[in-house]
């Protein structure tokens, strides 16, 4: 009888101890990150977008400009080709300049190519705007195009701007080379320190 009581008591105490110290299961892994698109869907449907595209052919240049701005805001796939087309074909120099200023905030080979083409525009103001945009983008690969065209431009202001842009691009390239050299030196020093520590 006594033995049974001891067994029961031991069982009860064992159960209590297990309850108290039982291992906690690991928490479930966090939910996967939410799928976030980089841009919201356009507020207007494709049919309405076609109407906006038509506005880009409006006789009034201000309407054409607002249409470009809207298409750009909607991240419409038509926006960039439209801007490149207008840079070549639109009759209003001020509109071409505005488009160049908008493109100066973008990057990409197609943007640079469009701006290089605009360096041959009939209007000196447009050529100047293209040079300023290319300077802002800072792509050194356009240096040869600048040397071939605007450096020999008939307008003094354009030639001056072309030289300034070449200087600026040279400075940027130099800074890039210097930054890369410093990064390499730092890496080399770190590797040497690591090797000395392991000896």
């Amino acid at each position: 009888m006594k033995g049974l009581m001891v067994v029961v008591l031991a069982a009860v105490l064992g159960f209590m101890a297990w309850q108290k110290y039982k291992p906690v299961p690991p928490p479930p892994p966090p939910p996967p990150p939410p799928a976030i698109l980089s841009e919201p869907a356009p507020v207007i449907d494709p049919e309405e977008q076609r109407k906006v595209l038509k506005s880009a052919e409006d006789p009034d240049p201000n309407v054409r400009w607002e249409a470009v701005v809207l298409l750009d805001k909607m991240k419409s796939p038509e926006a960039m080709p439209l801007m490149f087309h207008m840079l070549q074909k639109d009759l209003e120099p001020q509109l071409r300049i505005k488009i160049i200023e908008l493109l100066s905030n973008r990057r990409g080979a197609d943007v640079v190519q469009a701006l290089v083409r605009s360096m041959k525009d009939m209007e000196p103001e447009v050529r100047l705007a293209s040079l300023r945009a290319l300077d802002k983008i800072g792509d050194y690969s356009v240096a040869s195009a600048i040397m071939a065209g605007p450096v020999k431009d008939q307008e003094e202001a354009v030639r001056l701007q072309a030289l300034k842009v070449l200087n600026s691009l040279q400075d940027k390239k130099q800074a890039e080379i210097e930054a890369a050299r410093q990064a390499y030196e730092a890496e080399k020093a770190a590797a040497a320190a690591e090797a000395a520590k392991n000896r």
Partner: protein, 200 residues
């Protein structure tokens, strides 16, 4: 003596087990509801007769009087205000007054105002059409996109520009809402990851 002690320990352990199983979950207790606060509705400033007179002033010969009457009806939240303002928008001969009413409706938090405003997109005066487009842009409800895009064919370039700017405002508003939601989802996810790491 030993047997008695064992019995006491056994009884205590059994009682603890029963108490542990049957105790109520503290987290599940709902907080008591907040006490009901009764705010008495303000008494109307105008009697029914006076209100009828103000409503009649909407048709006064003087545009200043008509505008003041419209503002009064709007401010006292007269149930007939929207109907009267719509009537004023449609029939008032004064473009300046119609523009003022458009701006008044813009600030009114009422979904019915959209219908009244959309109607003004066909106003004969270009300034009213532009004011309406600006008001719709400020409201930012993209459900009126079809009517706004219809004005891309307006014969006045200023109206076409205003229509494009209104559409751009809709897009900007959607982008702002989207960015807010994306930031919230990101924050929630980071919080969940942090909590999960703390538990490990």
């Amino acid at each position: 003596m030993n047997r008695l002690l064992t019995l006491v320990v056994f009884a205590a352990a059994a009682a603890f087990l029963i108490w542990d199983r049957s105790r109520p979950d503290e987290d599940a207790v709902a907080p008591p509801p907040p006490p009901a606060i009764e705010i008495p509705a303000p008494k109307p400033v105008f009697s029914e007769t006076e209100l009828a007179k103000v409503r009649l002033s909407i048709k006064d010969a003087d545009p200043e009087v008509r505008w003041t009457a419209a503002q009064v009806l709007y401010n006292i939240r007269d149930p007939q205000a929207l109907k009267l303002l719509e009537q004023l928008l449609a029939e008032d001969p004064e473009p300046e007054l119609r523009m003022k009413v458009v701006r008044l409706l813009r600030d009114r938090d009422d979904s019915a105002r959209l219908a009244a405003l959309v109607g003004r997109l066909r106003d004969t005066e270009k300034s009213v059409r532009i004011a309406t487009l600006e008001a719709l842009g400020d409201i930012g409800d993209p459900s009126v996109v079809t009517w706004v895009t219809a004005l891309l064919k307006d014969h006045e370039p200023e109206v076409r520009i205003a229509a494009l700017r209104t559409l751009a405002k809709f897009q900007e508003k959607r982008k702002a809402e989207f960015d807010l939601l994306a930031a919230k989802l990101k924050k929630d996810y980071e919080e969940a990851v942090r909590r999960s790491q703390e538990k490990r």
